[in-house]
């Protein structure tokens, strides 16, 4: 299952082989922490609980998120430029929905 999600992925268009590339990711999500209070209609927790990035055949980054991550999560990490190809970004939401985005990195 895969849905659409608004994400802004910032990375250099080009990099040299072996260069450490910074990647910044903003994704639109309320990160609902859930409500379970007496007298209120219970609202289930709904957050993006995992985020993984694969590139050139391997997982290069993974993050487990909690309700303690700010709404519209922001993540910054680095990866070594190994070959021209797509970085695949995948978020898993409570309930099992998976969101996927790709961004191309050209390696010279």
């Amino acid at each position: 299952m895969s849905g659409s999600i608004t994400a802004r992925i910032t990375l250099p268009e080009q990099a040299h082989r072996g260069e450490v590339v910074p990647i910044r990711v903003l994704v639109r999500h309320p990160m609902d922490r859930g409500i379970d209070a007496p007298g209120l209609r219970p609202v289930p927790r709904r957050i993006l609980h995992s985020f993984r990035v694969t590139y050139a055949g391997e997982e290069v980054f993974r993050m487990d998120l909690s309700p303690g991550i700010a709404a519209n999560p922001y993540v910054e990490f680095t990866t070594v430029a190994v070959e021209t190809g797509d970085l695949v970004f995948e978020w898993i939401e409570d309930g099992g929905a998976v969101y996927r985005r790709e961004a191309r990195l050209v390696v010279a």
Binding site: V20, V21, R33, G34, I35, D36, A37, G39, L40, Y55, E58, E59, V60, F61, R62, M63, D64, L65, S66, P67, G68, I69, A70, A71, P73, Y74, V75, E76, F77, T78, T79, V80, V82
Partner: protein, 150 residues
């Protein structure tokens, strides 16, 4: 979360205030110390080797910038495998866990976290050699005045 700061300047958004206040109560609470013990799994942490970049004062507990750099060669034999963020006074003390490999090139991550109140942030970094590095920082969460419960 954010009970104190979120309490409106005025007593208007009552239902919203109640809802927000209890929003982050986990079904089963794991306390801060227990969370740290579980990650350490019997290992004794080494102080240092971690730089935490976070403002000493945070204007709004909804979004606190946090950047972490761990000293590591990030080679196949010696690299950081995991970085953990724990928040002492959050309803859920385990805020995030990052899994890294040598493909990261550097052990540097940044994110934005929610803080219920003024507290201590703890960072643990596990390495492929079995070590755990430990560093902490205090952060003051400013009580805002112009809040509307939105």
């Amino acid at each position: 979360m954010n009970a104190v700061r979120r309490r409106a300047l005025l007593a208007v958004p009552v239902a919203a205030a109640v809802a927000r206040d209890v929003a982050a109560q986990p079904a089963v609470e794991e306390d801060f110390a227990a969370a740290e013990r579980a990650i350490l799994a019997g290992r004794t942490p080494v102080a240092g080797g971690i730089a935490i970049d976070m403002p000493q004062l945070s204007e709004n507990g909804n979004s606190v910038d946090l950047a972490i750099k761990v000293e590591s060669a990030m080679t196949a034999t010696d690299h950081v495998t995991a970085i953990h963020i724990l928040a002492e006074k959050n309803p859920v003390p385990r805020v995030a866990r990052f899994a890294l490999s040598p493909r990261a090139g550097r052990a540097e991550v940044a994110t934005r976290i929610r803080l219920a109140t003024t507290q201590t942030i703890l960072v643990l970094a596990e390495t492929s050699t079995g070590q755990v590095h430990r560093a902490s920082r205090d952060v003051i969460v400013i009580l805002g005045a112009c809040v509307d419960g939105g």
